[in-house]
């Protein structure tokens, strides 16, 4: 433990404050009794899809595409998730199957 307990608590509160500001800001800007402008409600409808796309890429941001195995474990596992989900449509099965395959790939195949 590098910091004192009080300093540690200070960091925890700073992280909490930063996080909470980003979570509350939209609700402060557009309170319930005020109809948000049309562009905001339109954005709310399409943002989730765009954000999921961003988060998928975000999860893959540290993959080294130019060095072996060129992101093969990630791509294969994502293909497996997609195929499983298309086939059975079971969220849990898709995630467990893809993750299990990925673990085998990074622990046994592409070591």
């Amino acid at each position: 433990m590098r910091l004192t307990p009080f300093e540690t608590l200070g960091i925890i509160l700073a992280v909490a404050a930063g996080t909470q500001i980003t979570r509350w800001l939209p609700f402060w800007l557009f309170p319930e009794n005020k109809q948000p402008p049309a562009w905001v409600t339109d954005l709310g409808k399409v943002l989730p899809a765009a954000t999921m796309g961003l988060l998928v890429v975000y999860c893959l941001k540290d993959v080294a595409w130019s060095a072996a195995p060129h992101g093969a474990p990630e791509l294969l596992a994502i293909l497996a998730v997609t195929a499983l989900h298309r086939w059975k449509g079971n969220v849990l099965l898709s995630i467990a199957g893809g993750t299990a395959l990925y673990m085998v790939l990074v622990q046994c195949v592409f070591v």
């Binding site: 700073a14 930063g18 899809a49 796309g53 990630e74 997609t82 995630i95 993750t99």
Partner: protein, 231 residues
């Protein structure tokens, strides 16, 4: 009686939806407890951070701050940047969280990536109120994260099997939720725009600075194409 029953129904509907989050948070939360313990911060501190901060990936980033000199302002600013994506979540949830009264406080306080991905996509089944359903999802996810952190801090060092790659559960969950969004034809252009903007941002700005430029591009594309996308 009716009140109690509606909570039970909400819990029964919410719990299965949160199972993927349970597995994901169990791995990442335990890993976080372990990481903190390895840096000399025992379960008390890691649990406090998880319970008050509740910031997922940001808590990992904050470990690097906890092991250098005391820098609360740096921690605050870094958090604002890393978590700026949460503003997207709030914007998307304005309608769905409307009229929920006191419940808005815990709902917004715990609106993490995972919780957002569920509450923005899953609807309460018939006969279950929005408030009860969304609260069950949010509080379950929250308790998974805090509980897993405690578990990691306390018992993590006894785990013997090789957990390398277990964190892929997170990626897999986002892929599945992306596919769920993809089912709606009208949402496909937005989904594709999200991936494209993030890839461009990754190539241009690198993995450590990807989020904010990607968000700016996504906003520009979605607002620019609003007439086409939302027609």
């Amino acid at each position: 009686m009716v009140y109690q029953r509606s909570w039970r129904m909400a819990f029964q509907a919410a719990f299965p939806a949160t199972i993927p989050v349970l597995t994901g948070y169990l791995c990442l939360g335990m890993a976080y407890g372990l990481l903190m313990a390895a840096n000399g911060y025992g379960p008390l501190w890691s649990v406090l951070m998880s319970a008050i901060g509740f910031g997922g990936s940001m808590q990992y980033a904050a470990v690097s701050i906890l092991v250098t000199a005391f820098g609360p302002l740096q921690a605050f600013l870094l958090t604002l940047m890393v978590n700026a994506r949460h503003m997207f979540y709030g914007l998307s949830m304005l309608e769905r969280y409307k009229g929920l009264g006191w419940a808005r406080f815990p709902l917004i306080y715990t609106l993490s990536d995972k919780t957002f991905s569920l509450v923005s996509t899953v609807d309460p089944p018939e006969g279950v109120g929005r408030r009860e359903f969304f609260l069950c999802i949010s509080l379950l996810d929250y308790s998974y994260w805090v509980g897993a952190t405690a578990l990691g801090g306390l018992l993590g060092s006894f785990i013997m099997f090789d957990t390398t790659g277990l964190d892929f559960a997170l990626t897999a969950l986002f892929v599945v939720l992306f596919l769920e969004q993809w089912k709606g034809k009208e949402r496909r252009p937005a989904g594709a725009a999200g991936v494209a903007c993030a890839v461009v941002s990754l190539v241009v700005f690198g993995p450590d600075n990807l989020v904010i430029p990607a968000m700016v591009m996504i906003l520009a594309v979605l607002l620019g194409g609003r007439k086409l996308l939302c027609a």
